[in-house]
Chain length 186, copies 2
């Protein structure tokens, strides 16, 4: 799976946190999780095409969720970025070679391997379809935060791996968005 | 998902059909579904390493299932070829950028996006793990075959797509396996 799905999920979450009707420019979305703006912009267009985002052009334009976070599922996010082709691509090799030329087989029913792999894929897609962006946002909102004196509150799980972020760049003050405006970390 | 998973599933099925204890040379396995022998050979080694196949070297050597088809699952096949890395690779972008630097977050719990994607992946892996090679073989064995006069028996599903097989090559008679010896089409 491409890294684009991770980008899309976090960008949509940031928009969900930013509030309904709030237009967020691509520069701010890119800075939200330090993503390369040109690639992110292409990806945002895919999400507009898929009906997840609304885009408003112009100097004061930007992106906002096209529908409530409750009605955007993780399956919508995946399909917007990766398309709806199955993970397992059956090329019908059962019809090829010494096995394939056996005249007793007429191949009118689906390949048994494809059918079995498809069952697993349906389970996966079903589990993605039952989890909305609002569910993920709610789960992220329950994570522990620092105490007011800076001491981390103990969490139930082991610390997450360190992120490998891109080197921090100096950006003009005016272009740097206050983090609070575009969301919190998932 | 790479095409290797399709190759592996069909090759293992062919070995399951060939009978217990039957050593099948790589040339015969490759011709079974018209697969390129050098690539298939590399893949067979991966399956030996994963404990799915046993390999016997030498002129009379070949491959056979390392354990009964009932105890080889589709998850075993997938993991042998693709490894056990998750489909969704979380790079912790929540820790990066303007959102990531918010000091209120301590990241001691897993990313909510990763957790949600992981749930779907568990559903998928679970469905792969509950389907054995023997199950797939049994399902393949129920597919319609031609009537004795060559008329296809009507199947319940639409015809499968035509396969795009490699051009048929002329092979020495001695090297061409009888199809019956290495399986039937899935």
């Amino acid at each position: 799976m491409s890294q684009g799905v991770e980008w899309a999920a976090h960008t949509l979450l940031n928009l969900a946190w930013s509030g309904t009707g709030e237009l967020v420019p691509v520069a701010k979305l890119a800075e939200g999780n330090d993503l390369p703006r040109p690639y992110l912009n292409k990806q945002l267009q895919q999400q507009v095409k898929a009906g997840l985002l609304t885009s408003v052009p112009g100097a004061r334009g930007g992106f906002l969720l096209a529908r409530p976070a409750e009605s955007i599922t993780l399956l919508d996010v995946f399909d917007a970025i990766e398309g709806t082709d199955p993970l397992f691509r059956c090329t019908e090799i059962r019809q090829c070679g010494a096995v394939g030329v056996r005249t007793a087989c007429d191949f009118t029913t689906a390949c048994a391997v494809k059918t079995a792999m498809g069952r697993a894929e349906q389970a996966w897609r079903g589990a993605l379809a039952t989890q909305s962006l609002a569910d993920v946002r709610a789960e992220a909102d329950t994570r522990p935060v620092h105490e007011p004196d800076g001491t981390p509150r103990p969490g139930p799980a082991a610390p997450a791996p360190r992120a490998v972020c891109r080197p921090r760049r100096s950006t003009p003050r005016a272009a740097k968005p206050p983090a609070e405006e575009i969301g919190v970390a998932a």
